[in-house]
Symmetry: C2
Subunit: 402 residues, 2 copies
């Protein structure tokens, strides 16, 4: 299968395509893909009426998208309608797929998601990645990517790109891990370490978690603050359906918002940061569980069993989260705060004090706080879906299968 | 003079125009205006090469813009060049003008800015607007607008719209003042109170101050946090050259970020908010000047004279600003923090402790803090320029002169 649409480097997500006839064609291809993806199966006529182009123009676009394997025809629509039956179009389940990878502190995971949003393959390896070299870790990731790609190729799919979630700050080049404290990585260019034939995007796990919520969350608003935790506490700020990245790519460092300015010193250089009260280590210490194994699960289990010290520690973490979120809500006026990542699993014990703190610091109705259903799956799914979204946003830039 | 381009309601600033041939023409008109505005005077050929359209296409667009009074020809370029001399184009100094108004607690101001960015008329009235009815205050504003419009009409300009800066929260409809505590206004629809023949936009003074910094500040970055104060403390969050408004339009409430969570209660419902440490009343109280007249000037004068209590009060306010800004910088990762509004006049005494606090709470290089040259002129200029930007962004939507 060839990809005749292949024309140029993919446009960055959300970046405007050039305002020329050619750019207009590329945008219209994207419109067709998004329409069929959101509302399909649809006939050509239905697509034309949805996007306000003529049926003839849509047919040309659709034919191109079928040739490149992005759309497929399901056969004639069911009879009983007036007029000649049209053939229903659907997003292809055998076209390009997005490969997502997650480099966690305790595990590696890779998955493939097709254009319909279905997870088609998955591989996981438990590993203590603290202080392993980037070369060793990325060699393992490359292995897992190969497994997953081999699996989907057997089903007629091909990889359109690789997106990697990391627990650290990533530069705006989308390749360089500037600082991942729990991995011990500094200024690590993953572009030289991962398979060169796949277009690569590296991003912070909290960002991919927030994007997953935007794309996959139930009734996700377009303006929200997604708070997540692994070892540290991160946030993704989504504004008008777009991720706010910051000048250096470091936005969303909620964990380093001062909660009590005279509190304990923090590794970031600050004092009394949120992480000193609601970060994993701080909560484990307060719960008297300093050296627990699978730490978040242990906290959840002990809290569920009613252990008072653990519940008290989580209550206090909720208060600290409430104070930091009051500031964030006043600055950003989001429609909602979503607790994701490991925090989702602890929500029953964090939420009451968190919500009470937000409410008592707000004159009007407090910003609603909800819990992500994606939980710790968010970053991996967000990574894979970011590749899929890239295909929908600019179908003409999809790389041909290798 | 007629305005043959008049076609539709103005597009909201930054909102994409429809992706049709007609939309493309409107975007190209905007491109011509922005290019001549930023780099003019320019020949048609120079405009064509800058925006990547043919000379013929640009000539058609330019002719339309000249007919509607938005561009003018300055006559033949200076001789000595090869080929037929082109006529240099400039943005008109006799076309539409933006009318800006500021409703302050102690004063009202109105000004007119032409498409070249020059202030062409200005009217100010000192008045204590605390607890005056919206009807009385807007009647005064309407008077001042009439004066200013009469003045510019004498010079061949006409008003393209009115933008009003208010010290309070404004709904996203751009008309309704939801709450202006120091005016005593609640849910006040200014759309019914101000001249109906002018397109109206109402916004928070901190937002217009931030936009003025974006458009007029020297070397203004595209990602910054603009902090300003009148009676309260507000901020404008500018991301990728766009103002972040928030779901309800309430973003930027830096004054209600908790600085010391157990501190004094605040009218917002919170406790230990920044305003309790760095708001005008708090600083005056700490400086022992509770009932001073023109308060910010008094603070600046006393600090300049070396009065120790006043300097100490401003030092402490700088510390509180530094704590709140540490949180904001960690969340937003701006390129710069800009002190504007009344804070600009107090900067010499606020900045040392503010910068020290930011630096000591940051591991790497701290976010730079600069001082706006626009100072308390920012909101008024930002309002007038917002109308001018609206004209440049969608010249086809400019209303005809009444």
């Amino acid at each position: 299968m060839t990809a005749p649409l292949h024309e140029a480097r993919p446009a960055a997500p959300g970046r405007a395509l050039p305002d020329t006839q050619q750019g207009m064609r590329r945008r219209n291809l994207a419109r067709v893909m998004h329409t069929v993806s959101a509302e399909g199966p649809l006939s050509r006529a239905a697509v034309a009426s949805r996007i306000g182009l003529t049926r003839a123009a849509v047919s040309t676009l659709v034919d191109e998208l079928i040739r490149s394997g992005l759309l497929e025809e399901l056969g004639p629509e069911r009879p009983g309608r007036v007029g000649r039956p049209g053939s229903a179009l659907a997003v292809s389940g055998r076209g390009p797929a997005g490969i997502g990878a997650e480099i966690g502190v305790d595990h590696l995971a890779v998955c493939a998601v097709d254009l319909r949003g279905q997870v088609r393959a998955r591989a996981v390896r438990q590993a203590d990645n603290r202080d392993r070299s980037p070369e060793d870790v990325t060699a393992d990731v490359t292995d897992l990517v190969r497994q997953v790609v081999a699996e989907i190729e057997g089903e007629g799919l091909w990889p359109a790109g690789l997106a990697v979630a990391v627990p650290g700050l990533v530069a705006r080049d989308g390749r360089t891990v500037v600082h991942a404290p729990n991995l011990g990585w500094h200024d690590t260019d993953l572009g030289t370490l991962l398979p060169a034939h796949l277009p690569l995007t590296v991003d912070n796990e909290a960002n991919f978690g927030g994007l997953a919520e935007l794309w996959l969350g139930e009734a996700a608003p377009h303006d929200f603050l997604h708070v997540s935790a692994e070892i540290g506490i991160g946030a993704a700020v989504v504004v008008d359906g777009r991720l706010l990245r910051g000048t250096r790519g470091f936005a969303g460092e909620l964990g380093h918002v001062p909660v009590r300015p005279d509190g304990p010193p923090c590794a970031c250089g600050g004092q009394g940061c949120l992480e000193q009260y609601a970060g994993e280590e701080a909560v484990l210490r307060a719960a008297g569980l300093a050296s627990a194994g699978n730490r978040v699960e242990v906290l959840a289990d002990r809290a569920a069993e009613g252990e008072e010290t653990v519940r008290r520690a989580l209550h206090d973490a909720g208060v600290a989260l409430g104070i930091a979120l009051t500031g964030a809500v006043n600055l950003l006026d989001p429609e909602m705060v979503v607790l994701g990542g490991a925090l989702a699993g602890l929500a029953p014990w964090l939420l009451p004090s968190l919500r009470a703190e937000l409410a008592r610091r707000t004159a009007g109705p407090a910003c609603p706080v909800s819990v992500s259903r994606l939980g710790s799956e968010g970053p991996l799914l967000g990574a894979a879906h970011s590749v899929v979204r890239g295909v929908l946003d600019d179908p003409a830039a999809v790389p041909a299968p290798v």
